[in-house]
């Protein structure tokens, strides 16, 4: 292939690069001339949906991002919050949806690698991974292969780098048949006085490239992530990147070693759009220019062109600005870890990204206008029509309650995910004190009494039925899960997965979800500190369910206060917190038992959530509670059964079905509810305290025996519950 940087920039070429006429006109204006091919490539990836957030920016700006404990909100590589003692927690969630559909193992693996880099580039040691996964219907021909590959890829990468994968969520729904979602979250720990940002500074300072060599991987990957799938997606296959967790582990150690010195001025990982976006962000962020000699870039393949080098998405690479004269010292560190290290240029005062290749300037772009003038659209949107509430009477009672419960807990959406988390090393680093299977994962802050609780949640069927309520509910569910283990919720990250924003209905879902999230964040004092948007999750015009996955982070100052969902002793009293109205609209019961996805989702009363949650957390912190579980998917009976299974103890429960039909009481998904298991001698005090605070609470039974017994239902042995609960996924995956 002959390389010509100065080919004629035809309309077709511009279109191929995904730039609209207006965008190209803006490009001409910024440059004051026709772009070279390399420049066109740079504009194209910088202004792709993935890098520029052009459809979402306007709405994202409305999210609350501040609180006294927020050190850095959105805009940096990841969000940073204060956890006291000069320590900070740094976290973010990101999507790797399209690559994971094309090549599940590598797509998911590189997703984990990418999110790790976002966190350690800020100076944090990664301490926990989470993964939020959505697959198509289990009956769909590809689902098994995708589930198997994605889980193996997440494990393959996370296990090797030695960061525990401590939790996540997994849904199946036909709306993901052609577009699965793989959202990976990482949480890291740093000292507040050792947090690194990306804004470059210091005219003349050297710019360093470290990590793996650059190959032709994933060229156009960033633009692919912004394009809708069509049948010919097969052709885009070679753009998949292969992850190298071994190199990533070395890169983590080498970067943290480098950061423990005082040599680093700024640092940025090369993520989507690789060298292009990292250098433009660093330069524009610092209001300076970069002058690079591309001949210095470590290259894996022969004959790479500037265009390819700038657009490559090879993994495991970082860009660093050093203090002057420290190159040799820095190089010694990367030599020790056997990583490539190259001085590729320096900071200039021009404000331009100037790229030289074999003595010729192949690109010279003012970075500030490129970054600041990136397109921003106010896309037309329509509000999702409101749905009517479904009354409990509109949903038939099951022929047999026991069989219904077994069917529920043995269903794809509610069965145990142990087949998944057993493939993840969830204990490496020896600080995991709440393993997967509970409401939130809990990881100790190494060497202290503190611990961090993490939960990822979203109920896409609610978001589809009512984006505003669904957006609220997603935020609230993480908050509730953190509360249920006893942690104080601090902040969230999000990963907003939607269909094609150029369709007003989809844009309406996006706007609605953000609106709901915003309300929840404000009332719960639970700001958004980082996030990611993934649009165009749609195949042949059918979009996914709107899926704003939320990753919530909470803190324990004393991790010994933590509780799990497992009752501790026979004789403990079970207390139901919150009111049960029997809301079956878009419930899992309706879906699993009747194959319907109708009605409005359960309304979220944010003030009630806060009241009930604060009460529960205070009781846990006062050490009055032995176990706690929030009630979400599947409702009360499912939550009770999960507690019984976790403790391998039975329970005897008596409920009053006078005002609510039994099946609605059992499986309704009313919000703001928890089940507490408390020592018998503490029950009365808790109930009267609740009454005094206006929190609805009821004594509903006791822990003990080997059977799960609820009035109005034949009893079930806990071992039968367990066999049913643990059966589905293993059976399903058994014959891959």
């Amino acid at each position: 292939m002959t390389w010509n940087n100065n080919v004629e920039i035809t309309d077709a070429l511009v279109k191929e690069h995904g730039l609209s006429d207006d965008e190209y006109a803006l490009c001409l204006k910024i440059l004051g001339r026709t772009p070279t091919l390399t420049e066109l490539g740079i504009f194209s990836v910088m202004w792709s949906e993935h890098c520029s957030y052009k459809s979402s920016k306007k709405h994202l700006k409305t999210l609350p991002t501040k609180a006294p404990w927020v050190i850095h909100g959105p805009g940096e590589n990841a969000g940073v919050i204060d956890i006291g003692d000069n320590q900070a927690i740094i976290f973010k969630m990101e999507s790797h949806n399209h690559p994971s559909y094309i090549e599940p193992y590598q797509g998911a693996a590189t997703g984990v690698g990418g999110i790790l880099r976002d966190v350690f580039t800020m100076g944090a040691r990664p301490i926990a991974n989470m993964n939020a996964l959505r697959f198509g219907s289990p009956d769909h021909a590809k689902t098994k292969h995708l589930l198997s590959g994605v889980v193996e890829g997440i494990g393959g990468y996370g296990n090797c780098v030695g960061v525990p994968t401590v939790g996540g969520e997994t849904n199946f729904h036909p709306s993901y048949d052609g577009n699965i979602l793989v959202n990976a979250m990482n949480v890291g720990l740093a000292d507040q006085d050792k947090i690194f940002l990306s804004a470059a500074a210091g005219i003349g300072n050297p710019v360093i490239y470290v990590g793996s060599k650059t190959g032709r991987d994933g060229i156009h990957g960033a633009t692919m992530a912004s394009a809708e799938f069509t049948e010919d997606t097969e052709e885009k296959r070679p753009t998949v990147q292969v992850g190298d967790p071994f190199t990533e582990k070395l890169l983590i150690e080498a970067c943290l070693e480098l950061m423990s010195t005082d040599m680093v001025v700024a640092i940025q990982d090369m993520g989507a759009a690789g060298l292009t976006s990292s250098s433009v962000e660093m330069a524009s962020g610092g209001g300076v220019g970069f002058d690079f000699n591309l001949d210095m870039i470590p290259q894996r393949e022969e004959g790479m062109t500037p265009y390819e080098m700038m657009l490559s998405e090879s993994q495991e690479r970082m860009l660093i600005v050093l203090k002057p004269g420290r190159e040799a010292e820095a190089k010694a560190i990367f030599d020790k870890w056997d990583l490539d290290f190259a001085v590729i240029g320096k900071i200039t005062e021009t404000g331009n990204l100037t790229l030289r290749f074999k003595g010729e300037v192949v690109a010279d772009i003012p970075t500030q206008p490129l970054a600041d003038n990136s397109p921003e659209y106010d896309r037309p949107w329509v509000k999702t029509p409101a749905r009517a509430f479904l009354k409990p009477e509109d949903v038939a009672a099951p022929a047999d309650m026991k069989q219904a419960l077994l069917k529920m807990i043995g269903s794809p959406d509610l069965c145990s995910r142990d087949w998944i988390w057993q493939q993840y090393d969830h204990q490496v680093m020896a600080d995991t004190i709440q393993k997967p299977g509970g409401d939130a994962a809990v990881v100790r802050v190494h060497g202290t009494e503190k611990a961090v609780a993490i939960s990822t949640d979203c109920t896409p069927r609610y978001c589809y039925a009512d984006p505003v309520e669904g957006g609220k509910q997603a935020v609230v569910e993480t908050w509730r899960n953190l509360t249920a283990v006893g942690a104080t919720p601090l902040a969230i990250t999000d990963c907003l997965n939607f269909g094609n924003p150029e369709r007003p209905e989809i844009m309406g879902q996006f706007v609605g979800c953000i609106e709901g999230m915003k309300e929840a964040c404000i009332i719960l004092d639970y700001p958004v500190v980082s996030g990611n948007v993934s649009l165009y999750n749609e195949t042949n015009g059918t979009g996914i369910h709107p899926t704003p996955a939320i990753g919530g982070v909470g803190l324990f100052t004393d991790s010994s206060k933590m509780v799990t969902i497992a009752p501790q002793k026979e004789g403990e009293v079970l207390i139901l917190v919150g009111e049960t109205k029997g809301h079956l609209g878009v419930s899992l019961y309706l879906d699993i038992m009747e194959g319907r996805e109708e009605g409005a989702p359960p309304p979220v009363d944010l003030l009630l959530e806060k009241k009930n949650g604060d009460f529960v957390r205070a009781q846990i912190n006062a050490e009055n509670i032995a176990a706690c579980h929030d009630i979400s998917d599947g409702g009360l009976y499912v939550a009770l059964a999960e507690m019984a299974m976790a403790s391998e103890m039975g329970m005897a429960v008596t409920l009053d079905y006078e005002n609510v039909p039994q099946h609605a009481f059992a499986f309704g998904e009313d919000q703001a509810r928890y089940i507490l298991s408390v020592p018998a001698d503490k029950a009365d005090a808790i109930l009267s305290k609740a009454k005094a605070e206006g929190v609805v609470c009821a004594n509903i039974g006791r822990v003990g025996g080997k059977d799960f017994e609820v009035n109005g239902m034949s009893s079930i042995s806990v071992s039968e519950l367990l066999t049913t609960h643990q059966g589905w996924m293993k059976d399903y995956m058994g014959l891959e």
Binding site: I102, E103, Y105, Q106, S212, G215, R216, D217, R237, P238, V240, Q241, V242, G243, D244, F246, T247, R300, E301, S314, Q315, D338
Partner: protein, 79 residues
């Protein structure tokens, strides 16, 4: 019949294993190892006795299971 299948990474696809082996060989003082690529080698014993049919069947196996055609190539020999 016996079939032998070689599965190798496509050109341009990163081969972390090969790279690490090359590095380790160099550390063990083996000079002049310019490149290393690692692939898989699979031997199948087939009941099929017709060469053409065996080939077609193994071809199908490669597409459906043995190789990951997104990043790998395969070569089949029937003997």
């Amino acid at each position: 019949m016996k079939a032998r299948v070689h599965i190798t990474l496509k050109n341009g696809v990163l081969d972390p294993q090969g790279k690490a082996i090359q590095h380790a060989l160099t550390a063990l003082d083996f000079g002049g190892v310019d490149d290393v690529r690692q692939g898989k080698y699979i031997e199948l014993d087939l009941a099929e006795t017709d060469r053409e049919k065996a080939l077609a069947s193994v071809e199908d196996m490669c597409k459906k299971l043995l190789s990951n055609t997104v990043i790998e190539n395969y070569v089949i020999e029937i003997e």
